[in-house]
């Protein structure tokens, strides 16, 4: 019996191949790898936010049971170990480069945040290493700390780095201030808003881990690490820190349990275990516990902004002025400087036709954990600012908030659309996503729901966000001109095996995204090979050509495009082989889903016939064609991609306790062509969960001395299932015009679009209390304070 195989190509919700091993506990994460003779590292971390190191005494620790070595920053300096590099250079308004102070792997003279690594104890067991680490005596002279950005920028503030006077990393801007000021001078109305974008702690489910190995026979180093981009780690660590040729350094990122950006960066512990493995000629493993994760994984967000919007009498936007302080933390993490600049200020046009925009950003060093990209990176900050501003502008102009947005949307026929802040949008239909979301959320019927809730004593509110993001990062030449020290292309290799199965090598890395399924679907769609016969290889610099990894919703738009290009090459070569085998002209060969056909005839060859011929070239055009069927393509995107859409949140507030409950969430996103709808829905849901987390629950709190008060799950509120609402996710597609798949990316849209929708809903619910500004997270105590204050005002 011949049963038609289920469709597995583009658009099919193929079940995730990787879940079979994950659900059975068979994933292989970095900490699952153990080697003969393996040692364990425990990092001695600073308990102080800011202190001078007067001395480090390792003598007692070195004599403890099982201890093999205790290393300090001085030991690394003797070995000429370099500092952790920064991958992006921003220039100040005056053209001078940003302050880029050294970031030693192990602190030498000073510690600059709680958790800053000072020494490492290496022993036969993890417990022994920890015992020894506790016995390391560090003589600290505690210094006053600059903890908040406000405090750090004050005259006479404690200096985090001697090389960054006034704790200023850079003072950057974009746009023509004079032109923008002129627009404001002619405005009928100016709306102003101050906002804080709260600092977040990423909390991937799998804590970071690293296993360093050294083979004294060959001189080869291997690092297994929890990374989103192993080639980037190999490049940065090999070239800048440990001076190991890339040919002698293999970096493997095996299964990785979530990253959200926090596993992009090159961290000290990776260099520590690799270098120690070389010194000791034994494998050295480090695995963070959750407490270490809180104080050593790069944090996210942390902006303070003042913004002003100029409008004409009809509510059309005339200009936008933004001034932002962005926290860098104590050191520059790998991509930190680009987040509040090119991933933020360039997004300030949003989906609107604002003709002129000026934004200035001061990046500030503080005695806190370094801050870098976290799911959305800069774009959530821009979106929150814009979409809060929209609601305040609606309130103050008396124009309905949906109408105000609509009136300023970039028209559907205006693409390609050049914004005043560098980006050129290729496609989108903001009216369509808005209309679809309004309908799906029954926006029109909301007042009845508000009235019904009021009968139950609840304050119900609805909020909207019409957002846009730039992802598919990024055209190398463009980012290079903006200060990136890396290219941002991607690589894909398609290896068709002799018997027709396919291995795909990709520089993208999956840590939850479902690449092992989605990428197979591209092959199924294009080459007609069943998903079960396609395997994805990623995360190993010894196997995969130099690729740039996964972040910025780039894997499909950039990595997938590389695969498409490589498959084009496979097909082109396959046609030549087919033409030879079928004694036809190559121009007469057609290819569709695995079948080569001589046009207009019933003469066909399957892909497997071609692959057999390619690897067993007995009857083969060997004079003009090399054997084998394997092609590699590097794809450098022509532009960013621009997903966008509309998120609508509905909340209910208990006025007695101030608790905000999510009751409904509707997302309509334009992510371009959808390869696997189920995976897209999951990605968007996950992003929305993080967005709701930021809006209602999560925030990183330091005390005035720089101690991390939200340093564990006891005090840092991660979203739980019952904090969320039923989430309805739909897509409305306009195709990306400049990549071969028409895809835009879906990894970050949820986290970008949702926070302002939620806060706008909370503000709407509190409309009788005169709320204008509401900083995230909207915790029960904060909301109660507003309600309580409001009642007091009413009584006075």
């Amino acid at each position: 019996m011949n049963v038609a195989a289920p469709f597995e190509g583009i658009g099919a919700s193929v079940r995730r191949k990787e879940d079979f091993r994950f659900l059975q506990g068979r994933g292989a994460y970095t900490d699952d790898f153990n080697r003969q003779g393996q040692l364990y590292a425990w990092i001695v971390r600073s308990p102080h936010a800011h202190a001078r190191i007067k001395g480090v005494d390792t003598s007692a620790a070195s004599r403890m049971p099982g201890v093999v070595a205790v290393f300090t920053g001085a030991d690394m300096a003797k070995d000429n170990v370099g500092g952790l590099p920064c991958g992006w250079q921003i220039h100040n308004k005056d053209g001078s480069p940003m302050a880029e102070p050294p970031h030693p792997v192990l602190a030498v003279d000073k510690v600059r945040h709680v958790g800053d690594p000072v020494a490492v104890a290496i022993a036969a067991t993890r417990q022994q290493a920890r015992d020894a680490a506790e016995a390391v005596g560090v003589d600290y002279e505690v210094l006053p700390a600059a903890v908040s950005m406000d405090a750090a920028l004050k005259a006479g503030a404690p200096q985090v780095h001697d090389g960054a006077p006034g704790n200023l990393c850079y003072d950057w801007h974009i746009g023509d201030k004079a032109v923008v000021d002129a627009a404001f001078a002619s405005a009928a109305k100016v709306v102003k808003l101050d906002l804080v974008n709260n600092r977040l702690i990423p909390n991937a489910m799998e804590p970071r881990a690293a296993l360093g190995e050294f083979d004294p026979t060959t001189g080869d180093y291997t690092l297994h690490t929890t990374s989103q981009n192993p080639h980037v780690i190999r490049l940065l660590m090999g070239a800048n820190v440990l001076h190991i040729p890339e040919s002698k350094l293999r970096v493997v990122a095996p299964d990785v349990g979530g990253g959200f950006g926090s596993k992009i960066y090159h961290y000290a512990e990776e260099a520590i275990v690799t270098w120690s493995a070389g010194k000791l000629a034994r494998p050295v493993k480090w695995t963070a516990d959750r407490t270490e994760s809180f104080m050593s994984d790069a944090h996210g967000r942390d902006h303070v902004s003042h913004t002003e919007l100029a409008l004409d009498a009809d509510g059309k936007f005339l200009g936008l002025r933004v001034s932002t302080l962005a926290n860098m933390g104590a050191y520059l993490s790998t991509f930190a400087p680009c987040v509040p600049t090119y991933l933020y200020a360039t997004l300030l046009a949003g989906v609107y036709t604002t003709p002129v925009i000026y934004c200035e950003v001061k990046a500030v060093f503080t005695n806190t954990v370094p801050v870098d990209a976290y799911r959305g990176a800069g774009r959530p900050e821009a979106t929150f600012l814009l979409e809060r501003l929209m609601d305040v502008a609606a309130l103050e102009t008396g124009i309905d908030r949906v109408e105000l947005r609509r009136r300023n949307f970039i028209p559907t026929d205006a693409f390609p659309y050049q914004t005043p802040v560098a980006l050129q949008y290729d496609s989108g239909n903001y009216h369509a996503t808005l209309d679809q979301a309004l309908k799906a959320s029954d926006w029109a019927g909301f007042e009845a729901r508000r009235a019904e809730a009021a009968k139950r004593g609840k304050l119900r509110g609805i909020g909207i966000s019409t957002y846009l993001e730039a992802c598919g990062i990024a055209p190398s030449a463009v980012v290079g001109s903006l200060g990136a020290r890396a290219g941002l292309y991607e690589v894909g290799t398609i290896r068709v095996h002799p018997t027709g199965s396919v291995t795909v090598l990709t520089g993208a890395h999956s840590h939850g995204q479902g690449h092992e399924t989605t990428f197979c679907q591209l092959v199924a769609d294009k080459l007609g090979v069943p998903v079960a016969q396609v395997d994805i290889v990623h995360g190993d610099t010894a196997k995969v050509p130099f690729g740039m990894g996964t972040y910025g919703s780039r894997s499909l738009a950039v990595g997938g495009s590389a695969m498409m290009k490589a498959m084009d090459k496979i097909i082109a070569k396959g046609k030549r082989i087919a033409a030879h085998l079928m004694e036809a002209d190559v121009d007469d060969i057609e290819f569709e889903r695995g079948i080569f056909r001589v046009a207009g005839t019933d003469k066909t060859k399957a892909l497997v016939d071609i692959s057999v011929a390619a690897y067993v070239p007995h009857n083969y055009p060997i004079e003009e064609l090399e054997p084998g069927l394997e092609e590699t393509a590097f794809y450098d995107p022509k532009n960013f991609t621009y997903p966008g859409g509309c998120h609508i949140a509905e909340v209910e507030i208990c006025p007695e306790t101030g608790k905000v409950s999510m009751v409904n969430f509707t997302a309509v996103d334009d992510v371009g062509r959808v390869i696997n709808p189920m995976i897209v829905e999951g990605q968007v849901q996950g992003g929305i969960a993080q967005g709701i987390g930021q809006a209602l629950l999560e925030t990183c709190v330091y005390d005035a001395d720089g101690q991390l008060l939200s340093g564990s799950m006891m005090d840092y509120t991660m979203p739980r299932a019952d904090d969320l609402a039923p989430v309805s996710v739909a897509t409305h597609t306009t195709l990306c015009t400049h990549n071969p798949l028409g895809v835009k990316g879906c990894g970050e849209v949820g986290a970008i679009g949702s926070p302002p929708a939620v806060i706008n809903a909370v503000v709407d619910a509190l409309r009788d209390y005169g709320v204008r500004t509401l900083d995230m997270p909207a915790t029960p105590s904060k909301i109660w304070g507003i309600i309580n204050g409001g009642r007091r005002m009413a009584a006075e």
């Binding site: 920890r130 506790e134 407490t291 007695e656 306790t657 101030g658 608790k659 629950l697 709190v701 008060l709 939200s710 799950m713 006891m714 005090d715 840092y716 509120t717 991660m718 915790t779 029960p780 105590s781 109660w784 304070g785 309580n788």
Partner: protein, 263 residues
Amino acid sequence: MYDFAYHKPATVADAVKLLADPDAKAISGGHTLIPALKHRLNKPSAVVDLSGIAEMKGIKRVGNAIVIGALTRHVEVATSAEVKAAIPALAYLASHIGDVQVRNRGTLGGSVSNNDPAADYPAAVLGLGATIHTSKRKIAADDFFQGMFTTALEQDEILTAIEFPIPEKAGYAKMKNPASRYVMAGVFVAKTGGAVRVAVNGAGPCVFRQADMEKALAANWSADAVAGVKQSADGLNGDIHGSAEYRAHLVGVMAKRAIAAAG
């Protein structure tokens, strides 16, 4: 965690002997001690595992009281037909402690001995005017809870059971800390033998009785009666999740809800 000796006695008498060592710690469900050990916040010489002591287990009705062995897990209290029939508010409280995993491991005796200000059980013990049975005596709830993580228990004294008088009415309501989901402010109200008791947990450094609410409820058992009672913020806890004033306010809200739940 640091190394320690491990003992698993089969009788209360043996456990008491082992706990004569001032650096030894008793463990029951382990939901407080194990995390402390893992964080190296505690370095006991020995851990005395009480879970093998049969005489400390079980739920029984004795006269006009429910007596619950110290080793009884939260899930057992939450699902006990005896408790649900006699003191439904106590079963309700147990069914809302932590999450499923916590309720399957944590025990009544462990929670009450630890006297975490944000724990649930102390509110029921004080609110119901329970009697604590120990390896050497019986202690009234009013004398048992002495301050943050401090009780009347001596080092070598083990809480063996708690005797809860069966009330005419009782109810419990709490506001959870958003992060830890421990109690941020909770109120247990009970009318037992005509006497009203109101116990507040979470809000202060130790569970305490709210005398003004007790007086108001004794005169008029209704949510309205406590609406006029203002809980002072003096001495209450304040942290990144809420000020003392917020917690004081929540005490009033939770009291009304507890009364509504009690009926």
